[in-house]
């Protein structure tokens, strides 16, 4: 049993500890992870909303700026001197000079204007007043540098507009040779007709707006990590962080916003006003977050719009998440460690009484003694401990009874029930023991084989009860006739064996034998009657007459027959030749 106890390799403490620790670590880890994840989603969603809002704000500012350009154009249609600008005389020349000066003032005020012109409705749309931005200066263009522009939509379409209406062009790359700073630049044109008092259309005022400058203005409020996009109604990029992706349609290629930012397709299709995107851009695995919005501009009836977009790298949005992640990680680690400690403690608290129980049971099985169980708790463990103590008590009681019974059985197996004297079996054992000690000590011992005379007749005459009384009396007398170290046994019926040890000499043995004969010759009182018996004795001596119990008893028996033949009531030593 103790072996099987030692065989436990991973005890319950270990298993329970591991289980609790794993549970603790898992729960804190998962909580940490989900907190991180959810927070991340919340941050991303908030950032998306913010981006979209910023996009819409920027878009409104764009609309306001274009409308301001439109207002500027309209203001100049109303000035007095405009009415004289188309003539040929000196008044007209003065008027053109005056208008040019005013345009120059306007451009000084608005650095985002490339060009402000008055274009005549006559003479194939010849420019009559033209002020260009040229590097840092503003230049009034005149003479043969003035060009005919009637074949451009911003002229022929504007000429067809009613007074006070404004034409907003597409956003395009200006390729008009001689446009100075505006050449090859993304441009938006705002144009409005100038009408004479009589109703005749004199020409158009055209303002070319520098789109890049406008966007630099819009971008000024933005942090550097934002990328800004602008597309036309079809989704062609007009502004893009990568310049080579803009105005692709101008040279036969298309770079469409919906190809890079899928959800924006809904705006292009007219199915939505805004879109939030989250995608990887370019070849890099860099994820970006973006907001795109439809921004109407110009005359509302024309349903003109552009699409604005702002994107930011996701890792910029989640910059704060790194710290959150670190915090979460350390919290998770701390919780995990305390979970492990708690698990160990719990396992110990739970397992200690169990160990005590095991110890108590173990010591009980080793010593068969009750040891007090020191578990006093009122829970299941206490109950278990008390049950085990009770069980031990029961077991012990049973064991004691069993032992007692065994002793009785053993006694009965080796003693004669009637007289209480050792039986033949035990006599042999005693003899064997005595022989070995005699052999060791070099002493002698004698075996006396006693057969009662006339016993059979007593049994027949007075009944078995009388016979039994005789046998009991015989044993008492034999015992009293002998020393403490000697032994008496009832071998069978009326035969008894006596062992004398040590037997110093044959005279001593003979003396004992005679004493026995004398003692048994005394009458035995049984109730009202007196019974008389006698004894015939044969004697064998170790080691002269044999060195085994069987041999010694056999030879003593033989000597006893010799006594019987001599007439009973005598003893004979074994002589070897009978």
């Amino acid at each position: 049993m103790s072996e099987s106890i030692q065989k436990i390799r991973f005890g319950i403490t270990f298993k329970l500890g591991i289980l609790l620790a794993v549970f603790g670590v898992l729960s804190s880890g998962l909580t940490g992870y989900y907190t991180y994840h959810t927070t991340r989603e919340i941050l991303v969603n908030e950032a998306s909303r913010d981006l979209l809002q910023a996009t819409q704000v920027m878009g409104r500012r764009f609309s306001i700026l274009t409308n301001e350009a439109a207002k500027d154009a309209l203001v100049y249609t109303k000035i007095r001197v405009m009415q004289d600008v188309t003539g040929q005389g000196p008044a007209a020349i003065a008027a053109r000079q005056a208008v040019a000066d005013q345009f120059k003032g306007l451009m000084t005020e608005h650095p985002e204007y490339f060009q402000v012109r008055f274009i005549s409705a006559r003479n194939n749309g010849i420019e009559l007043v033209r002020v260009d931005r040229d590097g840092d200066s503003i230049r009034i263009v005149g003479g043969s540098d003035l060009q005919e522009k009637l074949h451009y939509p911003y002229v022929y379409e504007t000429l067809g507009l009613a007074e006070g209406k404004v034409h907003f062009s597409r956003i395009f790359i200006n390729r008009e040779v001689g446009a100075h700073a505006g050449l090859q630049q993304p441009t938006l044109q705002v144009a409005t007709p100038v009408v004479k008092n009589g109703g005749e259309v004199l020409g158009v005022i055209v303002i070319n707006v520098d789109l890049n400058h406008m966007f630099d203005m819009l971008k000024a409020d933005l942090r550097d990590e934002y990328q800004i996009y602008l597309t036309n109604q079809n989704g062609d990029f007009l502004i893009h962080p990568d310049r080579s992706k803009t105005f692709g349609f101008d040279y036969g290629r298309r770079f469409l916003v919906q190809d890079t930012f899928g959800p924006v397709a809904e705006i292009v299709k007219g199915k939505g006003d805004s879109a939030i995107v989250r995608t990887q851009v370019g070849g890099s695995k860099q994820e970006v977050l973006g907001g795109f919005a439809r921004i109407p501009f110009g005359d509302q009836a024309e349903h003109r719009f552009v699409i604005f977009g702002l994107t930011v790298r996701l890792d910029m949005v989640l910059k704060g998440m790194t710290r959150l992640a670190e915090n979460s990680a350390s919290i998770v680690i701390a919780f995990s460690l305390s979970a492990i400690a708690l698990a160990v403690l719990l396992a110990w608290v739970f397992v200690r009484p169990l160990k005590q129980l095991v110890e108590s049971v173990g010591s009980f099985s080793r010593t068969r003694e009750l040891s007090p169980v020191r578990v006093r708790s009122r829970d299941e463990l206490g109950l278990l401990a008390r049950s085990i103590a009770q069980m031990q008590e029961h077991l012990l009681a049973h064991l004691n009874e069993l032992n007692m019974r065994k002793d009785v059985m053993e006694y009965r197996a080796r003693h004669d029930v009637l007289t209480g004297a050792p039986n033949r079996e035990m006599f042999f054992d005693l003899l064997r023991f005595a022989i070995s000690s005699a052999r060791r000590n070099g002493t002698q011992l004698a075996v006396l084989f006693i057969d009662l005379d006339y016993f059979k007749s007593i049994n027949d005459t007075f009944g078995h009860a009388a016979g039994d009384a005789v046998l009991v009396a015989v044993v008492q007398r034999l015992k009293s006739a002998m020393r403490e170290s000697d032994a008496v046994a009832r071998l069978s019926g009326d035969e008894f064996g006596v062992m004398i040890q040590p037997a110093e000499d044959s005279d001593g043995v003979a003396h004992v034998a005679q004493k026995i004969i004398d003692a048994l010759r005394e009458p035995i009182v049984y109730g009202k009657i007196t019974l008389k018996i006698g004894a015939s004795i044969g004697i064998s001596v170790f080691s002269a007459d044999g060195d085994t119990p069987e041999e010694l008893l056999h030879n003593a028996d033989a000597a006893m027959y010799n006594s019987k033949r001599k007439g009973r009531g005598v003893f004979c030593f074994y002589t070897g030749m009978q």
Binding site: N124, S144, E148, V177
Partner: protein, 346 residues
């Protein structure tokens, strides 16, 4: 989606494998470099079955793309390619295009005379050797409003006619516009303008500018402008394709090739220097000149073929495009013209 594409690829591969027995793998391969619609799969399969060969068709979308594919390997990666007569010149110059034998292509006999007489097509014959066989073409005629013109205009000069001021639409392209101006002024070689003629032609184009409503780039844009502005004349840079678009939009138009003749591009088959089996490549060219194949080109793509006379081009003068004397110069001048420079400045 990728899975679907993968599945389709697998099925196509399996079909290929099933259609062509294993022995086909050992068969010869003809490598064709051409344009969309010039070698449709069903016709390619017919050729493969007939000649017990495999045909690999590569499609390009622009002249530049074709040049980079052919010049990168000096033509080694292809056997036969389709190229227009103007572009053909640089392939001959660089040795990528090699002479072929028209006698080995018997179907040339079926071609209309203007295509079978190779010597009359500029750019095909050099040093007495033929480098290409015409396959398809498109001309740049004049589209007009049938209500505005009782009889079809017969000259490009009508575009300068002040009566139609503001109702003419012109293409926005420097090379063709100078060629057109030269034609309109009676030149017989619009691709080689003498240095002294440029200012005259430029001023003529300024006059055209003053007469047009505006200039267009794309056929769809032209259609939209024509419909929205009641135009009556339109220079059809994209030919029959634009006629179709306008008719679809509901315009009542006619299409003519004026007496000056129309500029036209002509795509031809040419052999590559890397051709592994010249005979097979010539068989391919012969095959595309079968009525069935050439007619499919017209029926499916709306392009004119070289076997059947197109109703518009019949008896008309077609002026096959050639490399021009100095396209950069034409572009520089044209930019100033369209920007509105006054005629005195040229």
């Amino acid at each position: 989606m990728y899975r679907q594409i993968f599945r389709i690829c697998c099925i196509s591969l399996w079909l290929l494998w099933a259609l062509f027995p294993v022995s086909a793998l050992a068969e010869e391969t003809l490598r064709v470099l051409t344009w969309p619609g010039y070698a449709d799969p069903d016709l390619v399969r017919l050729f493969e079955q007939r000649h017990k060969v495999k045909v690999e068709v590569s499609i390009v979308g622009s002249d530049d793309e074709m040049w980079s594919l052919l010049s990168s390997g000096q033509g080694a990666n292809f056997d036969v390619f389709a190229v227009n007569t103007a572009e053909l010149q640089r392939y001959i110059d660089s040795g990528i295009s090699v002479p072929l034998n028209p006698a080995a292509i018997p179907n040339t006999a079926r071609q209309l005379a203007r295509f079978s007489k190779l010597s009359e097509i500029p750019g095909i014959i050099r040093d007495g050797q033929a480098y290409a066989i015409p396959y398809t073409y498109s001309e740049m005629g004049l589209i007009y409003d049938r209500k505005a013109f009782r009889t079809p205009p017969d000259s490009f000069a009508v575009m300068w006619d002040k009566r139609y001021k503001g109702r003419v639409l012109m293409y926005q392209g420097s090379t063709h516009n100078f060629s057109l101006a030269a034609l309109a002024l009676g030149s017989h070689d619009p691709f080689h303008i003498a240095a002294g003629d440029f200012s005259r032609l430029s001023r003529h184009l300024v006059e055209l500018r003053r007469n047009v409503l505006t200039f267009y780039s794309q056929p769809e844009e032209a259609t939209q402008l024509y419909m929205a502005n009641h135009a009556v004349l339109l220079f059809g840079n994209y030919g029959a394709q634009q006629v179709q678009l306008l008719q679809k939009a509901g315009a009542d138009i006619g299409y003519v090739i004026p007496k000056e003749g129309a500029l036209a591009w002509l795509d031809c088959w040419s052999l590559s220097k890397g051709a592994r089996n010249k005979k097979l490549a010539e068989d391919w060219i012969n095959f595309t000149l079968e009525v069935r194949v050439s007619h499919a080109l017209t029926e499916r793509q709306g392009l004119s073929n070289t076997l059947e006379e197109s109703p518009v081009a019949q008896n008309a003068k077609l002026i096959w495009l050639q490399q021009v004397e100095d396209s950069a110069k034409r572009a520089r001048l044209w930019d100033r013209i369209i920007s509105g420079d006054q005629p005195e400045r040229f």
